[in-house]
């Protein structure tokens, strides 16, 4: 029997052991939280799913109408959709959304803006807003998306042959995040043809940019217009009015969506609610599992996770599900079988 460490028996419930136990307990609690939370969202989802789904039932339409009239339009009445041209003609400067500065609109920039609002309220019957969630993979929703009158897409998603059956090809508005231009296209300071080729895929779709979100985005976004002009493209370029972004953000904050920045998808859904009678959401899903519990990739084309703490995706999705359960819009999460 050799000598053992004399301090080993003394520290039975001493500092070190207690510390270790604390760490273990914390880990277990976190793990449990994760699991329970994961269960929870599925549960909540299925709860909503039980609700009335007859899209055209009078009761549902009424409710939806109410909500659009009261909630969404109350916000919308003081803003218009993309840019307030009348005001811009008088104002020579606009404020960035994140209040990082003031942008002075000179003659050249002003010429880029379209004369009129490109779209007006309740113009379309059926709209599809296509997110990029991995839930779209193998969904076969392509034809249903294409059957919509107006299709919104987010952040230059690939719509090549490979994804045709799942996401369709029809595109009327595609948004481009300036961060994509910065990362994938070197701020358009070098090659421009690759970017143009990517935009060409969307044929006649209008390009929608949050140019006046903050100072970093402006130069890059304005360059998009120059690129399309240089290559004599017919595609239109629109910029979100910063005031519109502020109002949308404020509105959804009131609805309980807490994020540093609302996602492009949410802005598009808001716009769609204004422009269209029926709004269908495809690929809006930000969880690692689909409703039947199978793991899916983050996007339908890759599995690159976003930066944490930037967008509040789950909160936004729950919000959509909530609206879905009230029949305001329709969130497609399963496979499509229609048409």
């Amino acid at each position: 029997m050799g000598y053992s460490d004399p301090s080993s028996s003394r520290d039975l419930l001493g500092n070190r052991t207690l510390f270790f136990i604390f760490i273990c307990a914390f880990a277990v609690v976190t793990l449990l939280q994760q699991i329970l939370y994961g269960r929870n969202y599925l549960k909540r989802y299925f709860e909503f799913y039980e609700g009335p789904l007859e899209y055209n039932s009078t009761k549902c339409l009424e409710l939806r109408h109410d909500i659009i009239e009261v909630k969404v339009l109350s916000m919308v009445k003081q803003t218009e959709l993309f840019d307030r041209w009348k005001n811009l003609q008088m104002l020579s400067k606009i404020y960035f959304m994140d209040t990082s500065g003031i942008f002075h609109i000179n003659q050249e920039i002003f010429k880029m803006f379209p004369k009129d609002m490109p779209y007006h309220r309740s113009q379309f019957k059926k709209c599809a807003v296509v997110g990029n969630g991995g839930i779209l993979k193998n969904s076969g929703c392509g034809r249903e998306i294409d059957s919509a009158d107006f299709v919104f897409r987010c952040n230059l998603p690939p719509i090549s042959e490979k994804y045709l059956t799942d996401v369709g090809v029809k595109t009327d508005v595609v948004t481009v995040n300036p961060s994509i231009i910065t990362e994938r296209f070197h701020k358009l300071e070098k090659w421009r043809k690759p970017f143009y080729n990517v935009l060409q895929v969307y044929e006649n779709a209008s390009v929608l940019l949050p140019a006046f979100y903050n100072t970093r985005n402006t130069d890059v976004s304005i360059r998009v217009k120059y690129v399309l002009d240089d290559f004599e493209s017919q595609q239109a370029v629109y910029y979100f009015h910063p005031q519109y972004l502020i109002n949308v953000s404020r509105y959804w904050l009131g609805q309980g969506v807490r994020a540093k920045r609302i996602s492009t998808g949410l802005i598009l859904v808001t716009a769609a609610l204004e422009l269209c009678e029926e709004v269908h959401l495809f690929g809006f899903w930000a969880f690692p599992m689909n409703p039947s519990g199978i793991f899916i990739t983050h996007h339908y084309y890759d599995n690159v996770k976003p930066r944490p703490g930037f967008h509040a995706m789950p909160s936004e999705i729950f919000n959509f599900l909530h609206m879905h359960s009230k029949g305001i819009l329709r969130v497609h999460t399963g496979t499509c079988s229609c048409c």
Partner: protein, 357 residues
């Protein structure tokens, strides 16, 4: 104490002033200052080096006018050998895959201790080797001097096999009679890209349209001379490739430019930097068999004493103190006299005949 300070010094100063005319207070011994005065007088009588002024140069040029110019083939060969020894224009004229392999460190010739390493992206922009059929036969190097205006030299310039021009000059129809329309190589300074085309950061169509006049020519850009020039020069390449333009971009080799600079410095050109024209003429002398230069005339009067504009298309004077144009002109004039190149200064056709035709 501080108030009383200045008073004694003033008194002292007065005393000194009184003494000054008797005995000047100097630190140098009298012999040294006498020597200094002597040297100054010597320099005044026998100046070390003085650049001849405009009138003298014009007079000197006029003296030569009557004599017929003949190409001196031995002098041409000798000068080409000199250039090949110092700078090797055939190999080093442009950046190529051969002379600048990947990972090579490039020291900028217009900056103090600044270099870039050629990475994969930059390397892919270079051609395999200098893309000319060497040696070139007859070359015209066209400067932008105002002396070209109403010269009617266009036809003669176009007769050469290879026409080089400087700094994206305008070639519209109103000038084609005087400067020709053919171009095989045109240089472009990044500063022009910056001034006229906003560094190609915004709309690029204007640039592409403006270089359409140069048809199938090479655009020669000193991309690796100044820090600020690299971005615009590479952007010129991207732009022309994006639009599928006929023009190709060649990047100047900083080693070549530095060697040419040293070469002319040893011949006595004191300037911060050589002008594009002299770079081009040196390159042409190394690459071509017969070189004729047009529009190299940096003075405000022509041979007959008439005032002319600085460029044939405008009268914007350059920043002073950057280029030493008269010195460069004297060197070229010396080459003309020794038969290495031909410098065209008079109108090629009689203006009277031109007007009647």
């Amino acid at each position: 104490m501080p108030e009383r300070g200045p008073a004694p010094r003033r008194r002292c100063g007065r005393r000194m002033a009184g003494l000054a005319w008797k005995w000047p207070r100097t630190r140098l011994p009298v012999g040294a200052s006498a020597l200094g005065v002597f040297v100054l007088c010597w320099l005044y009588i026998f100046p070390v080096y003085r650049l001849p002024d405009e009138k003298e140069i014009v007079q000197g040029v006029l003296l030569q006018q009557g004599k017929a110019w003949r190409r001196n083939h031995t002098a041409v060969a000798l000068f080409r050998k000199l250039l090949e020894e110092c700078c090797d224009p055939a190999q080093l004229f442009a950046m190529t895959k051969l002379n600048s392999p990947m990972g090579k460190n490039l020291w900028f010739d217009g900056e103090f201790l600044y270099s870039v390493t050629i990475d994969n992206a930059t390397y892919s922009l270079f051609p395999q080797a200098t893309p000319f059929q060497l040696p070139l036969k007859k070359c015209s190097v066209v400067g932008n001097g105002g002396i070209l205006k109403k010269s009617g030299c266009g036809k003669q310039i176009d007769q050469a096999d290879f026409v080089m021009r400087c700094n994206l000059p305008p070639l519209s129809s109103e000038y084609s009679k005087d400067v020709g329309s053919k171009t095989q190589l045109v240089t472009a300074n990044p500063s022009i890209i910056q001034k006229r085309f906003q560094n190609l950061l915004w709309s690029r169509k204007a640039f592409v349209d403006s270089v359409k006049v140069y048809n199938h020519s090479y655009i020669y850009m000193p991309a690796f001379s100044m820090k600020t020039g690299t971005g615009p020069s590479l952007r010129v390449y991207y732009t022309l490739k994006d639009f599928g333009a006929k023009q190709a971009v060649l990047f100047a080799n900083p080693n070549f430019l530095r060697d040419i600079g040293k070469f002319w410095k040893s011949k006595g050109i004191h300037a911060k930097r050589l002008s594009t024209g002299l770079f081009l003429v040196s390159a042409a002398l190394g690459l071509c068999e017969e070189v004729t230069i047009y529009g190299f005339w940096p003075f405000s009067v022509d041979l007959h004493g008439k005032f002319i504009s600085h460029h044939y298309y405008d009268n914007v004077l350059p920043d002073s103190g950057f280029h030493a144009m008269p010195e460069e002109f004297l060197q070229l004039w010396f080459l003309h006299k020794s038969g290495v190149l031909r410098m065209q200064l008079e109108p090629c056709e009689d203006p009277l005949i031109q007007s009647s035709a």
